[in-house]
Subunit: 338 residues, 2 copies
Amino acid sequence: MKIALDAMGGDNAPQEIVKGALLAAQKYPCEIILVGDERIIRAELGETNLPITIRHADEVIAMGEHPADAVRCKRNSSIVVATRLVRDGECDAVLSAGSTGAAVAAAQLILKRIHGIGRPAIATPIPTPRGTTLLLDSGANVDSHPEHLVQSGIMGSLYAEHVLKINKPRVALLNIGEEETKGNEQVKAAYQLLKTLSTINFAGNAEGRDIPRGVFDVVICDGFVGNVVLKFGEGLALTIMKLLTEELTSNGGAKILGSELLAETFRNLSKRLDVSENGGAPLLGVNGCCVISHGSSDARAICSAIRVACNYVDSKILERISASLTNAPAVETVTGLR
Amino acid sequence: MKIALDAMGGDNAPQEIVKGALLAAQKYPCEIILVGDERIIRAELGETNLPITIRHADEVIAMGEHPADAVRCKRNSSIVVATRLVRDGECDAVLSAGSTGAAVAAAQLILKRIHGIGRPAIATPIPTPRGTTLLLDSGANVDSHPEHLVQSGIMGSLYAEHVLKINKPRVALLNIGEEETKGNEQVKAAYQLLKTLSTINFAGNAEGRDIPRGVFDVVICDGFVGNVVLKFGEGLALTIMKLLTEELTSNGGAKILGSELLAETFRNLSKRLDVSENGGAPLLGVNGCCVISHGSSDARAICSAIRVACNYVDSKILERISASLTNAPAVETVTGLR
């Protein structure tokens, strides 16, 4: 298995990206192609006999650039070159911690959408006390039509079953109430389509609080809502940890506990809350494996994301999504997009 | 000052509502009219010489009922009777911990909207390490037009300034990125309207993580997004506390700390995170003071919400909102709704 890794993308690129590649090449049966400025990557990589090679790309798409425009203009940028490696069959997956918009645009423009899918969706695995809840779309597209939410439900269900190994995943629609009649026009229409689908285990509406509690295996939403919710959760978790440290310190807790016990508790808790423990988030709905990592990813997170890419490819999820859309008359009927 | 309190609304009604009234009547210079089944309320209230009276209402709107239909049909329900007391000038404010939808519908149908406001918005004060961030709309209306988001910005800014006593409140628009060009059609159009407004201190886009961090004083969003975010935050905070307790316990922390220190730390932290500490959330944009409390409110939360109602009335916020819409040509121009 060959992974094209955007070595120039992310807050900690290229150092942590290269370190992550070194970790993953020792742990997983894969070959890694680091894509980016050869001289810089070579300096970070040093000498190694692990299956890691470099593919030169002399441009980088920065965070502030307009994604689609940048992908079209910077044809030799690391994310574009890495994505082309997948399109051309040289690699099985592309992985980036750079601009999410650019990775999504490159995947859409170069790999193209799966026939029958209106818009791809980023599927973020959220750690919960009961396991993992897959939230999609967590930011690939906004202003989704109801049909796109239905397609996210189908793709998320297949991913949860075959990659996360959840039996008959419970799929829910993110809404402001449990009742079928609740919500905005978009989700009310999506609910009516979802309840007629026999190919997924649709469990009705989820409310915001159901996500962290892990009540459902897959939660479907528009990319605007998903993005806001994920970033809100990130900020809230950090704020709570900060407040807790303050409270414990002012209570004399730090002294009593000793810094080590407190530090270990926080490490364990962070680990259980940390999205990077679950690795990257796959972009579902394009013709190829594209995994998106958080901009702040360190080597450990990159290594996890490479594992996600390996699992994705092993599970043949791409073929399953295509087949599900071909074989499911219900989808064809409800989406009207094929 | 007279407060009409829906004694039948909420998970803990009427016990905690009546207890909350007793607490508030001792602390604040107000008279409380408990609205609901007289016999039941009388039994809870017992004998008191505090300024608390009862107004009989023999119906209750339950959580599952369709809000507007129920308000129209159950003309003698506690929330409808309480709201009428405000319309008729007998009370200065109405407060309910019952169905939010019913409270909003009663306010819209009975008090009516302020002239110039397209849709009212629930303004929820969120505790942050830096103070309070007011999130609106947190669930009164979905499918908002850009103009409604602008009106929320104006109302939220006035509330933050005159009730929360924040000087020149920084108002931001909830979005998926900082850049002006980001977002769905709704927020992109709202951004263009907001940046021309001279009457508020518009600070650009907020991302989800900015809310718990307290980066802005007022954050504007559609009621669908606001509701999902608030409930997500509620669930996440509870989940983190649960996981932390597990981690500390399994680390032997509980034994070392002693249950009292741990309990105190958690109490303090909960207090800093607890929405009920900040009391209820006002529904802004209707002709009268309507304060909405969480369904799980206990006596302390009800007491805080009564304080919120008192501050609302004292601050003459209603008159300020009306005047701002009358005097601000910019609003008239951008909204096209007057």
